[in-house]
Amino acid sequence: MIALLIRDLRLAIRAGGGFGLGLAFFLIVIVLVPFGVGPERAVLTRIAPGMLWVAALLAALLSLDRIFALDHEDGSLALLATAPLPLEGVVLVKAAAHWLTTGLPLTLAAPVLGILLNLSPEATPWLLASLGLGTPALSMIGAFGAALTVGLRRGGLLLSLLVLPLYVPTLIFGAEAVRRGAEGLTALPSLALVGGVTAGCFALLPFAAAAALRVNLR
């Protein structure tokens, strides 16, 4: 498992794609927001938590189709399926690699971009915590979506259509935690719920994703 993880990380960094692209996308969306809603600082402060979450979510969406597609094309996915490692484990590792290359950098970049949107300083720790807890769920759900669409030629667009509704609970709880943090309310319940969603995703979705992969490799 660890060898697979290291291999995936190395591939992601060398290809350069997912790593920088997601971050750049995140930056651009956040820069575009004030152009759209105007530069009023009070308005920006109000919408900052939600915008940061939505932008991070879209940025994570960008690189989802690469989770399995490349391995499917060159046949190494079929090899992995016959390996002693259960396919559920492969899915888990793939999701973890996706998170390490997109979710984690996004989380670390978010406070910096928060400054651009005039996010209140009290909310910054909550932003870090909720993104840190929530983005793994995004990766895991995305891995499930990628497993469903891996054999398809025009899978990318379909993947977004399938995955975005599944992101709703994570987004609601995550953005809520930051918003409450920004208003000085207690944000711990929302944060706990984000963690709950993530834990649930990691407990159940590897099985669903592995089932989908087996069907697609048949």
Binding site: T149, G151, G155, L162, V168, S190
Partner: protein, 243 residues
């Protein structure tokens, strides 16, 4: 003789053929009667005026919208466990019907909400969950359309339906947590309570619900028959080509 015999495609085609005309006749009769009754012969509500008449289409379509997904969940499970082709084809047949009902429920809700709440749309838990449900229907249908191999499509959409159900429920509770809404709770099934629907509105509403259920059944059976025919035609064509 077990209940599963009815899932044999040939048998299914056999027993649905005589049943369908009756189902259609009953469905049309119920819906026409209920809507004419509701539209022409029920009084206006003292507070809501004539908008109360929207209830005869809003409530039944919303019920079908949710229960169609529930039916798809069950038939998908049956496909995964017992591999009955008719079962998963019924799920495929039900999806567009459910999506159409969701659209009706959302639209009638919007035009009802505008005069009553003063807004077409509010991000209320009930409304939000319906929008999410609509997205799920779209994704489910898109996945069916995208995959060429029939069995692969059946497997993958069934898995999506299961996972989607979990997330749909989760979204509902997330939305409640997120925003306490404008929409009242269900006002149909609480007989004898002062805030339930009054008797004059109740009977045509029940008739309308029955009509929508019958219409749903008729549509799903007809569409399932279509899917079975198409499946058989493709299979015969494939056999002809390979022979």
């Amino acid at each position: 003789m077990s209940i599963w015999e009815y899932a044999n495609p040939k048998k299914f085609m056999g027993w649905t053929r005589p049943v369908l005309p009756w189902l259609w006749a009953l469905a049309v009769a119920c819906i026409v009667t209920a809507l004419v009754w509701g539209f022409f012969f029920t009084p206006d509500d003292y507070k809501q005026g004539s908008t109360v008449k929207i209830i005869y289409i809003h409530v039944p379509s919303a019920m079908i919208a949710i229960n169609a997904w529930f039916m798809m969940l069950i038939t998908s499970l049956v496909w995964i466990v017992r591999r009955h082709h008719v079962s998963v084809l019924a799920a495929k047949a039900a999806a567009p019907v459910g999506a159409a009902m969701t659209v009706i429920a959302l639209f009638t809700g919007a035009v009802w909400g505008e005069p009553m709440w003063g807004t077409w749309w509010a991000w209320d838990p009930r409304l939000t969950s319906f929008l999410v449900l609509f997205l799920f229907y779209l994704g489910y249908m898109a996945l069916w359309a995208a995959i060429e191999d029939a069995d692969t499509a059946a497997d993958l959409t069934s898995v999506l339906c299961l996972v989607g159900s979990v997330f749909a429920v989760l979204s509902r509770y997330a939305a409640i947590f997120w925003n306490q809404g404008l929409h009242q709770g269900s006002s149909v099934f609480r007989a004898g309570r002062p805030d339930s629907v009054a008797e004059v509105f109740y009977l045509p509403l029940m008739l309308s619900i029955a009509g929508f259920i019958l219409l749903f059944l008729a549509l799903v059976l007809m569409r399932t028959r279509t899917e079975i025919r198409l499946r058989r035609a493709s299979a015969l064509e494939a056999r002809m080509r390979s022979a």
